[in-house]
């Protein structure tokens, strides 16, 4: 009898620990499919401990800030010191706490829902933003008034990414994450027997995807090695499709008003083109799904592919993981389907929000906008975080954009900001990140892209219909 009781107790406690176990495991790291930019940071922060740093004037107004990347916190620390120098009569002290990715977002949501315990300022990863912005101005402070001095020169697509349903801006962006085309000029010039300048001239002449194909075929013919490809297409990422949508001005999420629809002509056209590339040996499927993983880096270093589209923040992958490639790569605008289309799209990102629970909302909001959008703030973001900044006033600034001490300016053949200036702030498209976004991305990355790219004869219409059916179940 006693044994029975013990077994029953054992079972209950075990069952209960199942739930506890879930919570624990879940908090060990969270990566959203959307969070390409922060994937790695999230993984890195997954196991790291909580780090707390306090900066600024101990006698100033105290602000509490949460982030999931320690470097972001340090950015605020430096900016707080700068702020205090400029505002000696209104100084601040800021405590930045770095939590693991999953923990921080869960804590923030819980605190917002509970109405107590939230920090003054908080970083929110773009994939998590729909959850946080759901409470609109009951939870967050609209930043419109505090950002208005900078709005003229901020990339509009990026500000809109952190808009709420009511049209207010709730988040201050770190970067554009503008999608550009990376080309291995060194490999191409070797294979084609041309000088680097000649190759660059050919790359600059690429306007449409047709031109891109022609250039790629020229390279592949000259190389004559059927184990090499011009580019790789992703089964584990939607960057190519985002680019296609931005070019046509489509948005599969439908934004806040319309239902999500993935059966778009832009998506079909991109997938059709990719299937034809796979069949003709022009492209390969990215090993392990996309280029932002170790196998992808190796694939690039082995010169199995010599070009691919990716956001600007991918530059840091070159400096961190492929340092030997220094001097080989050239950054250019992405090709378009029809001339005159937008040729870039902002991918990934982190928006900084100010919560309504803050005792010093105005100061917190003013400081946040200043630290993230002013020239001083942007300078520091570029220098330490290496992000392509959203304030276009700096893009053409010689001292800023052509600083030869900057590691990215040193690494690439051309200056990254020259490419951004050439694209122009109005040519960077935006795909909304709303509550249905994770569902779309997840279905595409787990199922649809694997179907149509692993088997290039698979019907794109069928695959997209399946995806649409799955998404319709959720909306």
């Amino acid at each position: 009898m006693k044994k029975k009781l013990i077994s029953a107790l054992l079972c209950t406690s075990m069952a209960a620990s199942l739930f506890v176990g879930c919570g624990g495991a879940a908090s060990e790291g969270g990566v959203d499919p959307d969070a390409a930019a922060t994937d790695e940071e999230a993984a890195e922060s997954a196991e790291s401990e909580v780090v707390t740093n306090t900066f600024g004037d101990p006698n100033g107004t105290h602000l509490e800030m949460w982030t999931f990347v320690e470097l972001h916190g340090q950015h605020y620390g430096v900016m707080a010191e700068e702020w205090n120098k400029e505002h000696p009569d209104n100084t601040i002290e800021i405590t930045c706490t770095t939590y693991p990715y999953g923990d921080m977002h869960t804590k923030l949501l819980t605190a917002l829902e509970a109405g107590t315990g939230a920090p003054d300022i908080c970083d929110v990863e773009v994939g998590q933003f729909p959850n946080v912005v759901e409470g609109l101005d009951q939870w967050l402070v609209p930043l419109n008034d505090y950002a208005k001095d900078y709005l003229d020169t901020m990339v509009p697509a990026r500000m809109e990414t952190y808009q709420g349903e009511d049209g207010n801006y709730y988040g201050a962006p770190y970067h554009v994450g503008a999608t550009v085309m990376y080309y291995n000029v060194a490999a191409m010039s070797e294979a084609m027997g041309l000088s680097q300048d000649e190759v660059i001239a050919k790359i600059d002449a690429v306007k449409t995807w047709k031109d891109y194909e022609a250039l790629g075929n020229e390279y592949l013919t000259a190389l004559g090695d059927d184990t090499k490809y011009f580019t790789s297409v992703d089964t584990g990422g939607v960057d190519w499709l985002w680019l296609a949508m931005a070019e046509y001005g489509d948005d599969w999420t439908g934004g806040f008003d319309k239902p999500a629809n993935v059966q778009l002509d832009s998506v079909k056209e991109m997938l059709t083109m990719q299937q034809s590339w796979l069949k003709s040996g022009f492209a390969m499927v990215s090993p392990d799904g996309h280029v932002d993983l170790e196998a992808g880096f190796q694939n690039i270093m082995d010169r199995n592919i010599v070009s691919f589209p990716k956001a600007m923040w991918y530059m840091s992958r070159f400096t961190n993981y492929m340092p030997d490639e220094k001097g080989n790569w050239y950054i250019a605008k992405c090709p378009v389907f029809k001339e005159g289309q937008k040729c870039s799209v902002g991918i990934g990102g982190t928006g900084t929000v100010v919560t309504q629970q803050s005792a010093n909302k105005e100061l917190a909001a003013e400081f946040t906008c200043w630290a993230k959008m002013s020239e001083a703030g942007e300078q520091h973001i570029w220098d330490t975080l290496g992000f392509d900044v959203c304030n276009t006033a700096l893009w053409g600034d010689e001292a800023f954009a052509h600083d030869d001490n900057n590691q990215y300016n040193q690494f690439f053949i051309n200056y990254p900001y020259d490419v951004l200036s050439e694209i122009g702030m109005d040519n960077i498209g935006k795909i909304s990140v709303v509550s249905i976004s994770p569902t779309i991305n997840e279905y595409l990355c787990t199922t649809t892209l694997n179907e149509v790219l692993e088997d290039p004869d698979y019907s794109i219409d069928d695959a997209l219909q399946e995806a649409q059916d799955a998404i319709d179940m959720e909306q």
Partner: protein, 298 residues
């Protein structure tokens, strides 16, 4: 005086001693359990939550991805039971015998993986199983003339990778359970068997196995729920919660996807409740079959 009476009271003292456990049990286990249960009948929104009755459960019945997750978890649990009970038992018996030298070293080597962070080992296994030609697994199969595989894109090889991680990680732990079980078997039983002329196999079959049964049942019970609740291994192996055609999605992975990634806590709680029910059914069935609830054995 009263305080002293209280402290020395034989009736009260035991309750005082178990109080910390009871309190933490209620606060961190029972309370979340009940809350999760009630939440599974709600649509949890940002500002307010609505009662939706059995809507979440009705949706689970139609949710193909959830069915895939359940099937994956059940398959994984089944194979871990097949691999992680007989082999650790065999290793434990070997280590307990005189056939093996340097026992401490073997024990340490087999146990070490359990101390390694899954985040680190999972990443290493992901790199080993990469579809790229430089991955260890592809180097091995290529050297054997079998060509290369997209390990983490196919159902069978994805499951194989998960099982290899599981075996690497848990063999040592289960072996230790069995070793401690073996230590509690009275050696005189083996001596008696020797005198009766029993062979090694007979000793194992008629002495070791029956006396090891409580340990086996315990390992079986924890393995059932560990198998069903697996998440982190899959999460690390596919560098995130999304695997091609959901070949690596588990029940807890789905719960995480719904609860954290899509912020649909009500639905996630329904997933959790189903997991609890499945785990309880399997374990109670297993415990009944093994006679744990039979009277008069203690």
């Amino acid at each position: 005086m009263k305080i002293k009476n209280f402290l020395y009271s034989q009736k009260v003292a035991p309750y005082v001693f178990v109080l910390p456990f009871i309190l933490s049990f209620f606060f961190f286990w029972v309370y979340p359990l009940i809350t999760a249960f009630t939440m599974s009948f709600q649509d949890i929104g940002a500002i307010k939550s609505d009662w939706v009755g059995f809507a979440n459960y009705a949706k689970l019945l139609k949710d193909n991805v959830f069915h895939i997750a359940v099937w994956n978890s059940v398959k994984y649990m089944f194979f871990t039971l097949v691999l992680l009970i007989p082999f650790p038992m065999l290793f434990a018996v070997l280590l307990d015998s005189n056939l093996v030298k340097a026992k401490g070293v073997w024990k340490a080597i087999l146990y070490m993986p359990a101390l390694t962070s899954v985040v680190i080992s999972g990443t290493l296994f992901r790199l080993m199983f990469t579809e790229y030609t430089t991955g260890q697994m592809n180097m091995i199969t290529a050297a054997l003339g079998l060509g290369t595989y997209k390990w983490l894109k196919m159902g069978w090889s994805g499951m194989l990778a998960l099982l290899i991680v599981a075996c690497w990680r848990w063999t040592g732990v289960n072996m230790l359970y069995f070793l401690s079980g073996l230590k509690s078997i009275d050696t005189s039983l083996y001596e008696a068997a020797d005198i009766d002329g029993a062979t090694g196999w007979q000793k194992f079959k008629y002495v070791t196995l029956p006396l090891l049964k409580p340990t086996t049942v315990y390992v079986l019970t924890i393995s059932v729920y560990a198998g069903l609740a697996m998440f982190l291994e899959s999460y690390m192996l596919w560098a995130g919660n999304s695997s091609p055609n959901n070949i690596g999605l588990t029940i807890v992975g789905y719960l995480y996807k719904r609860g954290i990634e899509k912020n649909d806590m009500g639905y996630a709680c329904a997933v959790g409740v189903v997991l609890l029910v499945v785990a309880l059914i399997i374990n109670f069935a297993q415990l009944i079959v093994n006679g744990t609830f039979k009277k008069g054995e203690d």
